[in-house]
Structures are given as structure tokens and as C-alpha cells.
Symmetry: C2
Subunit: 823 residues, 2 copies
């Protein structure tokens, strides 16, 4: 019976509350609790009568799986469209280049001008349509998933700008990736689609659902980018979330699989592929893909990739910070926005020109690099006979050794990738790093093949070494190191369609992660730092300190608050003294019992209404009216009038009319008088009149604030003083809190904002007792210096005068407007 009762209640309330919400929307401002109850009861009977059938039909249209299928479909089409358009552009590029064959100078002009034009178009398109479309998108999404609102980041405008500019960027053949921007594009798509779906179903409007929608969007973004649903879901989890709701795993899989499926089917339909296969399919032998004795080589790839990945992140950050530090250069580049991408594109295109330096770094296959690197043949064996190698023959130079070619390619490409990802166009770092890793792996593989030209002996059988396998492992390890993820291994399996190297690849990826994580933050965290986005750092492996620090140790005790019995003067003072977005409302300054939280805008509205000229005039008029009435009716006039009113209560209509007339009349006279007096004032001087206003305001400020018309959030998030840092971090991460009040027995004791928590976690990381991976010490020294800088900077602004959300926007806007190269 208990259960049944609850169920009945719930279904009724459900419908009633949906209607209530509509009512709320109509009213503009949400209703207060009392009136809500009233409305609920009003609609109660209506709902019962309606039988809910048409309502359910509407809701069915908004079902979740329809949303997921639509999202998958749209993103697959977008992904395929971007690929198709950029591929066609590249074809046209190549065709023009080849058509001018004997004329090398003209070829050079085309080789350079073509990407230059595209990149400049992309940069200016982004700049004019939506500057938010610039960069990877993963760092910003990580911040958004954390609960921070970034303005205009998930709009249709940004979607268009990102898609168009990305297509141009990819078509230019620059070393920029598609993965990061696609995460952004898919997230916008998910948000826009969920808004559209909310016409049918209210659930998409809930704040929690927002995160769910974004999670699925990220998964679809990675999944449809390369047709890797599994790796996509895992990569997006690792990169964007701290806590992950397992139900989103399922939803992500569903949408990403559908998306990847459609993406690959479109390729088949377009005759790009014979059937649904992997994007960079490999054909390694499966009986004996590798020997245990090759493991040290795989481990070396992993460890070196870790160092290289950390170095990549470091360099990438230093390029941006270096330009930002150089004031004059920074200002110059901000003024002439297109110079920076133009110079970079020019350099990169020049270096890769096949008749110039490009011949030493396989410039000819610049756009099919990955498939040649994953090639099944051992290049050093076939360096004489290039027929069998096919396209990979571009790597064989008649005069220079293969090793030198690969090494040169790796080094030049490394610098190119570092610089290219700082251009103000939509660009991801994943693919360039993937190519770098493949080249590095291939280098090690070829070296191994030359060390053991006859293969490795095991159980009396000789097994050849497969340099292509090394390339795959290198690609997974380096991308893993740069992004601090292990799911790059899964992406690699899906991209190559072969899983035979699973164990050595996992070992290499984990080793690369261990090294890279102890040296540098991930590429995305590094961009977050550079852009100064408000992100809560993750807790380390097992910091003992997190369990022994409590909220009371880090909270801000000097809280600005509003008490329910305060005067308007106090309210004004509080509003002037702080800029936080919401203020706690307490019972009285003595008891300090927390009643709720009020938004700043509400309080400002309250104060403004109270001191507004309209109200002043109204009050003035009423006062005048009273004064008017007093001499007119005599001092005893009030008594019979009151009586009259109490009589009139029986038939109201008549009375109000009468009263209205009376008011009107008296109002008119008051107005005349007012006008007269004002004219008189204005004739003499305006200052006494202003004085009077001021006096009136001063008087009004001394009155008690009436919070009746003010919307109070009765359930701000509360912690107690003895909540541990670990628990606090968990709650902040999971619920996306920006601040929480610390209470003790209902009394407000302090406040804890994201900023304090961030500092406490960063601080404790540097404490004496540390449990970090073995190589952490180098990183910590590095971090200390940046930390103190950030600390001293933020110290200037008062610790609590800015809410983290505002802070984020402030931090973001300069990075877009002032920083020359918004990553």
C-alpha cells in the first residue's frame, strides 16, 4: 500500500508539475512555493480528466533513443560531409600541382598559395562568425562538463563556423586534426538537438540532463570522426569526465555506434570502400604477430613516447606563453590577426615542398602518411626495389638512408605540429600526434629490423620483425602520452582493424602514460591552464592528505551575507562590497541560521524597486493624497470612511468604482499640486529638490528589507566543517558546484568556492607527503613556479569577491580578445 500510494502521488504530481512549469514559464519569474502548491492543486483535476493520452504521444516523440539516433545520423552526415569536401579540395590541390609538372616555380606557388588561401579563409571566417570556434574544443568542453557556463560556446553559429573552417583547414593539408573540433561540433549538435526535442519532452531542460547530453555528444564526436565507436566512447570519458554515470556509457555506445555505422556506410555508398572496414586497415600476419623477445623494444617505444609527449605539451604551451609574454609582438599579432596563421602556413608548406626539403620527408605522400607508415613491408629490405612498396616508395630516397628520412620527417613534423595547433583555426592535436607516433614507431621498427635482419629465433622457427606493428604501437603510445589516456589503444585497434598487438600496445601506452603524467599535464589540461579556464584539478592517485584536510581548513570564514531582518542600507552595503553571483540569506546576524541563497540580481532588483523614482512618486502621491484628504474632510474624516469600506465589502464592485473615482480625483489634484510644486522648485533651484530625494532615499534605506517578492533558493548546497577534502572534491566534481556553504547545526560558518578548493588541491599536491608516480618530482618543480605566479596574480583580486563563474568568463574573454593566438 505504501508503494501504491507513492506511485499514485508521483504520477499525479508529475503531470501537475509539468503544467506548473509551463505556468512558471508564462509568468517569467518562477512562482513562490505557496502559489506553486495552489497551482498544482488547480491543475490536479484537469490532468486527471485529460486521460494523458495525447500527452504521452507527445512524450513518445521525445524519447531518448530517437534523440540518440538523430544525433548519430546528423553527426555521421557532418563527418562524412567534412571528409568528402576536404578530400575533394585535396584532390583539386594535387591535380593543380601535377598539371604544372615541369614548371617547378609555378608548382611551388601553387603548393604554397593553396593552403595559404584556405587557412586564411578559415581564420577570418572563424573570426567574423564565431571566435569561439577556434581551437580544439576539448578543453572548453571539459570545463563546461565541470559545470561552468562558457558564453556562446554551444551555439549554432559556433557550429557553422567550426564546420566550415574545419573543412577548409583539413583541405589545406596542414597538420591539424579533426578529433577535437568534432567533439565540439557534436556537443553543439547534441545541445541544439536536445533543445529541439524539449518541445516534445520537458526532461531535456533539466540541469542534470545537460551533462548527460554533453557526454553523449562528446562520445559521438570522437566516434563518428574516425568510425571508432568503442574508442570514441572511452576516449571521451577519459578526456572530459571525472565521474561518469554508467547509464551514459550505454547511451554513448548506442549513438556512437549508429553514427560510426552510418559514417562507414556512406563511405561504401560513395565507393570509397568495398565494405565496412577500418579506416587505416592493416594486414599484419596474425599467426605470430610478435615475439616476447621484442617486448623491450615495445617498452622503449612506450617510455620514449612518454617523454616526447610531455615535450610536445611543454613546447605547445611555451609557444603560446612566449608570444603572450612578448608585449609588442602580442599586440601586433592581435591587430593583424591573419599574419600569424599566414606565416605558419607559408613556412610549413615551403618546408614540405616535394622538390625542396620535402623530398627528405616524404612530402609526396603528405596526405596518406598514416597508411604508408602502417605498411606491411620492411622498408630497409626493399630500399633497392621500390616497385613492391607502392606509395610507400616515397619514403625511399636514392641517396639518403631510410632512417635519416624518417628521423627528419619526425623532427620537422614535430615542430610543425606544435606550431600548427596554435593557429587561430579549429584544429585538433590528435591526428598530427598520431602521425608523429607512427613515424617514431616505424623508426624503432626499422632499426629493429636492421638489427635482426633474419628475424627472431623462437622454438626453432625464425619470425620476421614487422615494423608496421611498431608504427601502430608508437602511434597509440604517443597519442596516449599527449592526451593522458589509455583508450588511444582501443582507437588504434579500431582504426587498423587488427587487435593482435593488444598486449604490447597496452604495455607501451601505460608506460607512456606513466612517464608523461609525471612530467606534464595533458595537452587539454595545459590548454586549460593557458586559457585560465576554471577547472578543478583531479585528485592524484592516492593523496593521503585529501583525507586529512577538512572543509574548515580551507573555507573562507568571512562570508558576506544578507540577513532576513536587515535594512536596505545593509543590503546596499553588501552589494557594493562584493561581486559574488549569489549571497546567503541568514535568519539574523546573531543566530546566522542559513535560510537559503539569493541571487545578486534579485537583490539588486529589490533595492532598485525600493528606491525607484516610480515608487517615490507613488509614495509621494499617496502622502499628498492623505494630506489632501485631511484638510478636506476634517480630522475626523477617517472614521466614517473606514466604516464605509467595511460596509462596502458586501458588494465590492460598486465600492471600487466609487473609490476609484475618489482616487482619480484626489490623484489629479495631487498631480496638479506635484506639478505646481515641482515647477516651483525648478524655477528656484533644483538642488533642494534633489536634497529632498536624497533625504527620502536615506529614510527608505533605513527600512527593513521585505524579501517576499524575492526568489530564494531554499536548498543551496551545504557542507559541514568536518567534511573531508576528498569528499568535497567528489561532490564538487559530481554535482558541478561552483560554491557551497559550510554550516554547523544550521548556522552559516563559511563558504567554499571552486577557487579555494582548487588551491587546496594544488597546494596539497606539493606537500611533504606525496604519493605520485616515480618521476613526479620534475613536474612538481615546474608546477610550483607557475602556481605561485597564478597565486600572486589572483591574490590581487579578492578571494571571494568574484564568483568562479564570473571569473571564468573574465578569464576567457581576455584570452579571446587579447591573446594573439587563442589555442
Amino acid at each position: 500500500r505504501y508503494t501504491d500510494q507513492i506511485t499514485d502521488n508521483i504520477s499525479d504530481k508529475e503531470a501537475a508539475k509539468l503544467l506548473k512549469k509551463q505556468a512558471q514559464r508564462n509568468h517569467g519569474r518562477p512562482l513562490k512555493r505557496d502559489s506553486q502548491v495552489q497551482i498544482k492543486e488547480e491543475h490536479y483535476s484537469k490532468c486527471q480528466g485529460r486521460d494523458n493520452s495525447c500527452y504521452i504521444t507527445l512524450l513518445k516523440l521525445g524519447e531518448d533513443w530517437i534523440f540518440l539516433v538523430l544525433l548519430g545520423l546528423v553527426m555521421a552526415l557532418v563527418s562524412w560531409g567534412v571528409d568528402y569536401a576536404s578530400a575533394k579540395t585535396v584532390q583539386a590541390y594535387k591535380w593543380t600541382y601535377r598539371a604544372l609538372h615541369p614548371n617547378v616555380p609555378l608548382q611551388y606557388v601553387v603548393w604554397v598559395a593553396f593552403p595559404l588561401g584556405l587557412i586564411l579563409f578559415a581564420a577570418s571566417f572563424c573570426h567574423f562568425v564565431s571566435p569561439q570556434a577556434v581551437g580544439s574544443g576539448i578543453p572548453e568542453l571539459k570545463t563546461i562538463m565541470r559545470g561552468v557556463v562558457l558564453k556562446e560556446y554551444l551555439t549554432l553559429k559556433a557550429f557553422v563556423a567550426k564546420v566550415v573552417a574545419l573543412t577548409a583547414g583539413l583541405g589545406s593539408g596542414m597538420p591539424v586534426g579533426k578529433e577535437g573540433p568534432f567533439v565540439h561540433i557534436a556537443s553543439i549538435c547534441a545541445v541544439v538537438l536536445s533543445k529541439f526535442m524539449s518541445i516534445f519532452c520537458g526532461v531535456y531542460e533539466q540541469p542534470y540532463y545537460y551533462t548527460d547530453v554533453l557526454t553523449v555528444g562528446c562520445a559521438v564526436g570522437v566516434g563518428c570522426c574516425f568510425g571508432t565507436p568503442l574508442g570514441g566512447v572511452l576516449f571521451s570519458i577519459e578526456v572530459t569526465s571525472t565521474y561518469f554515470a554508467v547509464r551514459n556509457y550505454w547511451r554513448g555506445f548506442f549513438a556512437a555506434t549508429f553514427s560510426a555505422f552510418v559514417f562507414r556506410v556512406l563511405a561504401v555508398w560513395n565507393k570509397d570502400a568495398v565494405t565496412i572496414t577500418a579506416l587505416f586497415r592493416t594486414n599484419f600476419r596474425m599467426d605470430f604477430p610478435f615475439d616476447l623477445q621484442e617486448l623491450p623494444a615495445f617498452a622503449i617505444i612506450g617510455i620514449c613516447s612518454g617523454f616526447l609527449g610531455a615535450f610536445f605539451v611543454y613546447l605547445n604551451r611555451q609557444v603560446v606563453l612566449g608570444i603572450r609574454r612578448h608585449k609588442a609582438l602580442s599586440q601586433f599579432l592581435t591587430k593583424y590577426r591573419l599574419i600569424y596563421p599566414a606565416v605558419i602556413t607559408f613556412c610549413i608548406a615551403s618546408v614540405t615542398f616535394p622538390h625542396g626539403f620535402g623530398q627528405f620527408m616524404a612530402g609526396e605522400v603528405r596526405l596518406e602518411t598514416i597508411s604508408t607508415l602502417f605498411d606491411n613491408y620492411t622498408w630497409i629490405k626493399h630500399s633497392g626495389d621500390t616497385q613492391i612498396l607502392g606509395k610507400s616508395a616515397a619514403w625511399i630516397h636514392p641517396k639518403v638512408s631510410v632512417f635519416v628520412i624518417i628521423l627528419l620527417f619526425f623532427l620537422v613534423k614535430f615542430c610543425m605540429a606544435v606550431i600548427a595547433t596554435t593557429m587561430p583555426i579549429p584544429c585538433g592535436g590528435f591526428m598530427p600526434v598520431f602521425v608523429l607516433g607512427a613515424a617514431f614507431g616505424r623508426l624503432i621498427g626499422e632499426i629493429m629490423a636492421s638489427l635482426f635482419p633474419n628475424g627472431i629465433l623462437f622454438d626453432d622457427i625464425l619470425y620476421q620483425i614487422l615494423p608496421g606493428g611498431y608504427a601502430v604501437i608508437g602511434a597509440a603510445a604517443l597519442t596516449g602520452a599527449v592526451s593522458h589516456t589509455v583508450s588511444t589503444a582501443v582507437i588504434c585497434f579500431e582504426l587498423t582493424g587488427q587487435i593482435s598487438h593488444i598486449l604490447p600496445m597496452m604495455v607501451a601506452v601505460i608506460l607512456a602514460n606513466m612517464v608523461a603524467q609525471s612530467l606534464q599535464p595533458s595537452l587539454y589540461d595545459s590548454i586549460i591552464q593557458v586559457k585560465k579556464l576554471p577547472y578543478l584539478p583531479d585528485l592524484g592517485w592516492n593523496h593521503i592528505s585529501k583525507y586529512n584536510i577538512f572543509v574548515e581548513d580551507i573555507m573562507v570564514q568571512d562570508v558576506k551575507f544578507v540577513s532576513s531582518n536587515c535594512k536596505y542600507r545593509d543590503l546596499q552595503a553588501v552589494l557594493q562590497s562584493t561581486t559574488v553571483k549569489s549571497l546567503p540569506l541568514v535568519d539574523s546576524p546573531e543566530s546566522m541560521i542559513l535560510l537559503g541563497s539569493v541571487e545578486r540580481s534579485e537583490l539588486q532588483a529589490l533595492l532598485q524597486t525600493h528606491l525607484s523614482p516610480e515608487r517615490r512618486r507613488l509614495l509621494n502621491r499617496e502622502m499628498q493624497q492623505k494630506l489632501n484628504e485631511a484638510p478636506y474632510d476634517g480630522p475626523w474624516a477617517n472614521l466614517p470612511k473606514l466604516k464605509h469600506e467595511s460596509f462596502a465589502y458586501v458588494d465590492e464592485d460598486e465600492d471600487t468604482e466609487e473609490k476609484g473615482e475618489v482616487r482619480e480625483r484626489s490623484g489629479q489634484t495631487a498631480a496638479y499640486r506635484m506639478l505646481g510644486s515641482r515647477q516651483a522648485f525648478e524655477e528656484s533651484d533644483s538642488s533642494p529638490f534633489l536634497c529632498q530625494i536624497d533625504a527620502w532615499e536615506q529614510e527608505e534605506l533605513n527600512k527593513n528589507v521585505c524579501f517576499d517578492s524575492c526568489r530564494v533558493d531554499p536548498s543551496p548546497f551545504q557542507l559541514v566543517e568536518r567534511t573531508s577534502l576528498h569528499k568535497t572534491h567528489t561532490l564538487f566534481s559530481l554535482l558541478g558546484l561552483s560554491h557551497a556553504y559550510v554550516t554547523s547545526m544550521g548556522k552559516l560558518r563559511g563558504v567554499l568556492a571552486l577557487e579555494e578548493l582548487q588551491k587546496a588541491i594544488e597546494g596539497s599536491t606539493r606537500s611533504g607527503v606525496r604519493l605520485r608516480p616515480p618521476l613526479a618530482s620534475f613536474r612538481d618543480i615546474n608546477r610550483t613556479s607557475t602556481n605561485t605566479k597564478v597565486g600572486s596574480k589572483s591574490k590581487k583580486s579578492l578571494p571571494l569577491t568574484q564568483s568562479p563563474k564570473e571569473n571564468s568568463l573574465l578569464a576567457l574573454i581576455p584570452s579571446i580578445d587579447l591573446a594573439p593566438i587563442p589555442l
Copy 2:
């Protein structure tokens, strides 16, 4: 400066608090806040002096990665050991069977007696060593990860019982799996290891870390079971968690990869495998694994697997419930525990006897079924020529069609698997279902191959159909349907070493999940229901109702509480009226301001101490002493004595000695008098004396309770009335709460226990507005009937008189002691 300050504080506090914890442990009962501060300050200087060096060395030994490596190593050894031992047992079994070749009756005896003996050994070993070792282990772990404490579930005893009995069970060749038990074994291993590690490092003792340890344990358990690290981590996430901390993903990967690596290296070392490859490696062609036109067949496999999976779960539950319902049978089986497994084993072994019915279901390859089902050849093509098929030739019967054989195999095996997994031995359902799915997929594949004997025409090329690929997809889909996971696809890739079928497999697994999830709960949830474990159901896809129900709608408003100014009599009344494990402490019954939560045991101790005979005697003695002193010194005696004391404050030692003497003397006299008076009482009658005690107790009960010596938790988890059901569910799931207090402005308004939340969620699932997958209606009808039953049952016990935790134990113990077949 702000950051630095925090850091200093933190490192000092860290060390100080560790020492404080030691002190706490010594005192037995944790100290109160005031004394904690004192101790902290005392140790402060000591810590500074010690330089922390030896301390850090100790902590280094307890580092996380050492724990992970050790866990991986141990579990790989255990997994390999179990495999090795069971393989040897199976070898001995086969050898004996073949040695008796011509003698069919003797062969039959061996064929039946061998598994019979092993299963009976396993059952009795479990029964005597640790009954908790019975069953899969995943449902219980799901419950434990939810925050519920199951007694003696993670002990070394259970570890030994599970490993030994599992080896015997696997060696018997019964259709029981290794995966579920391995999750349990690995979790025990992780917990025991973490306890061992906590010698070096205190972090392992934290409540949060417990969940982290278990998560990694589960991942390693699945990972080392088949050498599938990726799938292992994902499967364990999907099966055990609701919210997943991404940091554990990394840790799980590390440990599972290491474990799988060692597991496979051991196989190479033992010459079972040439190199590290997949367990059930397939050799499908990779150029064109399947055609798009085959997709409908894959979709059919997916949908049928969904229905079959749901049917499997339904049957499995009905077997247990059916026996439990039959009182007489249930009692009989409980009395003679070994009869049930013996009958089942006998039946299964008899049916599979190769010379009997077994010839129609490939009885000969009973133990290599999977590798034959994943075979590369098309059986119907080679039914005449069995030479080429190798071991798979067992599937070709000279008289009966291959289709009939596979169908028979599937049907009989289905029933066998359903029944075998209810035996009281450690047994998982994953592997049997995997085999079933493979058989089903093979059946569809062979049918397709016979429908298109020449293959499928595409682009003027004929492509043969690969029935083995269908088998792999079927296996993934059916296991996915039974366990409600999608990561079975990943496990399949890793097991077969081929990823070429990724997209059709994902499609099939998702379709199977959609169907199965709408019909039945997962196998693990079903076992949780049957065993009545306290588990919070997951929120559905997007129940709109979750956002529109608030805590105030479901909370229990009639809370039993203790007020800080209450009398011992009230305390006694509260303790007698309720059995909850902890009670809220409020300021006063009028204000109801929540001060904290007190454990029941603390309150009982308080009451007992207050009414204890020792205290009574002490008070009596003191009273007597006062009475003694009064006539001795006269009525003015107190005044000079007080003066003396205030003087004595200067040199205390002297005074205490003196006072001690005085006390001793007066104590002696009091004792004499007491003795005298008691003797007098006892001489006359004992009832007046008892009366006196009673009177004294009644008097004492009227005194105010002194909570000074009582340990109060100052931060019980609090919600406000307007917290939504969705948020509440999130918080309960994430933090593993068993109950939370509902407060409004610091005032206690109600309490919400796991039970209420569970009912609210189940209730709302059945509400009018529902957003479930398309086929959900069938399931909901089914659920309603079970729900009402459970509801009426639990209504008998008062909703709040039992805390969920106690409830869980009560629910578990009968299922182990009374239920004949503890799943």
C-alpha cells in the same frame, strides 16, 4: 602567499593527524574535538623535528602502483593456477574415459562418476569452509560497491573456498563459468592486499579508498580470467558501478593489463601457446569479412539473442523461486545439501555421454566447444569430408543434419546452463552463455551459408559467408543480453584476436541489449532480487518523473530522535521503540535543530553506564560519605575546607596527599556502613532493597542526559526538502549512503533511508508517464506483481525501524541458511 600558507598547514596537519589517528586507535574510542586539537598541537613540534624522512620511505613502500602490480601478479598466478589444475583434471578425466574404450558401461560410469565426485567435493568444501563462496559473486559485489556491508564476504577463508571449489567445478566439465567467481576472488585479493599495504600507508583504511580498491579488484578479476584487460575493465564498470570515478579506470587498466600480460606469459612459458595471442583466436579473412547485405542476419541474431537472454534470466530465477516456494522440497534439500548438485550433475553428465544422447550434441568436444564453433570452415559444405574440419568433425553426425545437431546442442545446453548455475558451488554464468550464443550464431550462420551457397554478389565479386563470424557475433550478443552490457563485444574482440566484425557486432549487441533490457533485469540484478540484497535500482533512461519528485514527497516525517536536553527516560523510550543503527541528535524537541547523529550503541552505552550497579554503588557511597561527614564536622565544616582547597592550589602535591588520606578514611567508614546496612537489608528481605534500586533508577531516569562522553558525528549527510529524486539518487549512489536526514534551515524535518528511495524509484517506474525502451511494457507487468508482493512483505516491518544495513544482513542470512539453493 595564500597558497603557501595552505600548503604549510596541510603538510603539518597531515602528519599530525596521522599521529592523532594512532592515538585514537590506542584510546579505543575516538577523542572528542577539543582533545583532538590538544593532541594535534602536542605532536606538532615532534613531527617538525623528525624530518619525515623515514616516514616517507615507509609510505613509498605503500605506493599505489606497487599495490596494483602485486594485485595483478597474484591474480594472474591464481588464474593460471586454476586453469592449469582444472585442465589437468580434465586431461585425467579424458584419459580414463579413453583408456576404457571398448567397455561402454564402464565408460559411462567414469563419465558420470568423475564430475559427480568433483562437484560434490566442491559443494561440501564450500559448505564447510565458507558458504559465502557459493555462486557468482558479481551480485554481491554490486551490493558491496553500493556501500552495503555483507558479513564475512571478503575474507581469506572465502578466497580459499572459492579458489579450490572453482577449480574442482571447472575440472568437472559442468557448464559453469569462471568469470563471476574470479571477480569475487580478485576483490577479496584486493581487499586483503590493501589491508596488508595499510601497514605502510594509512590511505588504504579510508572508506572511500575501499570502493576504489574493489573497483580495481573487479577489473583485474575479469581481465585476468581470459586475458582480456580492456574488456575486463569495461565489463566490471558496467556490471558493478553506477557512478564511476575515471581515475579508477586508469588504475584498473594498469592492473588488468599487467595481470593479463603475466597470465598469457605464463601460458607461453608453459608451452600452451607459442606467443602472446588471444585465447580463442580466430582466422577469418580480413579483406572482406562481411557484406552490408548480411546485416539483416546480424540484426536477427541480435534481436533473437535479446529474447533468449531475457528468457535465460527468467528461467534461472524461476528455478530458484520454484524450489523455494515448494516448502517440503525446500526443507528436504536444505537438510540433504548434496542431493541437489548430485542430481543435476548426474543428469547433465548422462545427457552428454558421447555414446548416448551426447552424439547428437558434439559430446566429444564438450570442452573445446568454443574453438570449434568459431571454426573458419562452413560445416554444411564439408559434411561429407570431415577430414579437413579437424576437431569440429564431432559436429557432423553421419545420419543427422548439422542444423539439427546445433539446434539440439543449443536447446539441451540452454536447460543445462540454466540449472547448472543454480548449484551451490562457485559458478559464473558468463562462459555457458557465451557458448550458447556461439552455437546460436553458428546456427544462423550455417543457415545463411545454405541459403547463399555461392556467397553474396557485390561489385561483381562473390563473397563467401563466414559462419564462424556469426558465431562470434552470437556469443557477444547473448552474453550482452544476459548481463545487460555492451562491453561483451570488446571481450569478444580480445578473446578472438579479431576486430574485423566490429560494426555488425556492436549493432547486434545493442539490439540484444535493447530487447533484453525491456523484458527482464540482468542476470545479476535478478540474483540480487532473488537473494533480496539491498540494492538501489538504477534510474532509467530519462524518467521525467525523477526530476519532478522531491525529497519531501518520499521522506519519512515521523523521525525518532534524541534531543540534547532530553532525560534518560526519553532516551530509554526511544531506544526501545526503534532499532535503527543511528539516531539524529537535535537541539530541543521545539527547535529541532540538527546537531549530529549518534550511533545506537553509543546511546545504549550511555544509558547502561548511567544505570549501572557500579555507578549506583559509587553514588551510594558518596552519599553515605556526605552523610558521614556532616555529623562529624558539623554544619559549618564546609567553609574552612573550601578555603583550604583554594590555598592548596599553590603546592598541589602536598594537598592531594592530604586529601587522599581524608578520602580514604571517610571511604573506609562509608564502606563499613554500606556493608553494615546491606547486611541488614539482606538479613531482612531482598525485595525492599530491589525496590530501593528501582526507585533509584526511576529517579536517575528523570535526570538530563549528559552527552559529553558520547561520540557524536557532527556531519551526517543532509538533504533539503526540495532536493529532486534524481539528485538524491545520484548522491546515494555515489556516496554509498544508507540514509540521509532532511533538514530545512537546520531543522530536522524527516529522514530518507535507502528503502524509501528504492520504493520511490520502483514506484515511479510504473507511473503513467514512462519513457522506457519500446518493449518495456511486458516487463513492467511482470514487475508489478513481484513489487506488490515485496511491498506487502516489507510493510509488516516498520518502515524505519530497521536500518537498511541491518536489513541487508537479515535478508542475506536467511538466503544462505534457509534457501536450499543459494545462487
